[in-house]
């Protein structure tokens, strides 16, 4: 009598594009598990955005590291847009924020929770992540690992291959779908074991972004986000807000409005796409930036905005500069202004 065929077990791997998730997936693939990758796009994982916008960066080759990881592993990758559901995570994180506006623990629970739904819909058996105990101060600690497993609903379906030997056995281990002895015991902030394993497995040219690939770990970006929320008196945001926080100089001369000033040709071009959404300014008598106004303005505010626009143009040393002010409907007027010259004030207004 033939032995019943062993069921092919399937795991979904959270692929960030970094080294740890690449290695975790590889360790499980090598145990004969069918692995597919999943990558969640929150709107803040924007490693490519600056590159895409700023002209000076365009000469550098660019790649999406999650796609690159999947290609190295020879697996499918599902990129999932979670911009809308992620808003609640960022706006109201139950575990609070990290050093900046990064809600890492809630974010991890959210993503694993999304993966739980995905494996149910796609008939997969378990979830793997590249988490390592002690690797990150907020989300990857010994005491937070069970929090993520519990709050995501994954429970013992969540396997962390890189540190599994330091954690209680999960269902895939208990059931013998994977061999616990072949899992790893990485621990702490050192990257040495990961680098050694990568070399052993033949991975080269892998991404190692400092602080991950999330803008919310960046202080300047977080300051701009907080300013936006304070100015609007609400934490609500749209994807366009997320994008524009990364572009240009942000200057808030008054609580009711701020200026987004293109720093170079690539940014000006990108911002041109927003001309129908914002009052915008540009210089006529000298070369200068495109400037978007976010907020509500009166005539005096527009005069000040024009003076600041002139300050960032090539006519900043001139007595007067002609600035066009155009509203969202394309109605424009010209203002002849003296370029703003109070540098100390400008510094204070910088976000």
């Amino acid at each position: 009598m033939n032995k019943p065929e062993k069921k092919q077990r399937k795991a979904v791997a959270l692929i960030s594009g970094g080294l740890d998730s690449l290695l975790a997936a590889k360790v499980i693939i090598d145990q004969g598990i069918h692995v597919e990758g999943i990558n969640f796009y929150t709107g803040f994982c924007v490693e490519g955005h600056t590159h895409a916008i700023r002209k000076k960066d365009k000469a550098k080759p660019k790649r999406n590291n999650a796609l690159w990881s999947a290609e190295q592993l020879g697996i499918q990758l599902h990129i999932v847009d979670v911009i809308e559901p992620y808003k609640e995570v960022l706006i109201n994180p139950s575990h609070g924020y990290g050093a900046n506006m990064n809600p890492c623990l809630d974010c991890k629970s959210f993503m694993v929770g999304q993966a739980v739904e995905w494996i149910k819909e796609n008939d997969f058996d378990f979830i793997i992540t590249g988490e390592v105990i002690g690797q990150r101060p907020m989300s990857q600690r010994r005491d937070t690992m069970p929090v993520i497993a519990a709050e995501s609903g994954a429970s013992d379906l969540l396997l962390r291959p890189l540190c599994a030997q330091l954690l209680p056995p999960t269902l895939p281990e208990k059931e013998g779908w994977v061999d616990r002895e072949k899992l790893l015991d990485f621990n702490g902030r050192t990257r040495k074991p990961q680098i050694e394993l990568a070399n052993k497995l033949g991975f080269q040219d892998f991404a190692q972004p400092a602080g991950g690939c999330c803008f919310l770990t960046d202080k300047n970006y977080s300051d701009r986000l907080v300013d936006l929320w304070q100015a609007r008196d609400t934490k609500a945001y749209e994807l366009d807000d997320v994008m524009l926080l990364k572009v240009g100089r942000h200057i808030r001369p008054k609580p009711n409005f701020k200026l987004i000033i293109g720093r170079e040709e690539g940014e000006n071009k990108f911002m041109e796409g927003y001309r129908k959404q914002f009052i915008h300014l540009y210089t006529i008598s000298a070369k200068g930036p495109l400037v978007l106004i976010e907020g509500n303005t009166d005539e005096k505010d527009l005069q000040l905005a024009a003076e600041i626009t002139a300050r960032y143009s090539q006519g900043r040393q001139e007595k007067t500069v002609t600035v066009a002010v155009k509203d969202q409907n394309g109605v424009s007027k010209l203002l002849n202004v003296k370029p703003f010259s109070n540098e100390e004030k400008l510094r204070d207004w910088y976000i």
Binding site: G48, P61, N64, L67, E71, I79, V80
Partner: protein, 77 residues
């Protein structure tokens, strides 16, 4: 076989890839899809996505304003 257009202009990566991935689910094997983009990152990302999903990357055409990536939907295994 039919020819489809996906407007992904002004979207930054990975959104053009996500839109392509979602659009392809509605198409049939052999269909041609032109993805119109402005983010130069698509010239590496969409071909990479094609390689891991098995869809055929045909070519990329670009001018100063936009990039058009043409792909052919693979037959279902």
């Amino acid at each position: 076989m039919s020819h489809h257009i996906l407007d992904a202009k002004r979207l930054l990566c990975p959104m053009p890839v996500i839109r392509t991935q979602n659009k392809v689910k509605q198409l049939s094997p052999g269909d041609i899809l032109d993805v119109i983009c402005t983010d130069p990152g698509v010239t590496s990302d969409i071909p990479a996505w094609c390689r891991i999903t098995g869809h055929r990357f045909i070519d990329v055409k670009s001018d100063a304003d936009e990039i058009v990536i043409r792909i052919e939907i693979r037959s279902r295994d």
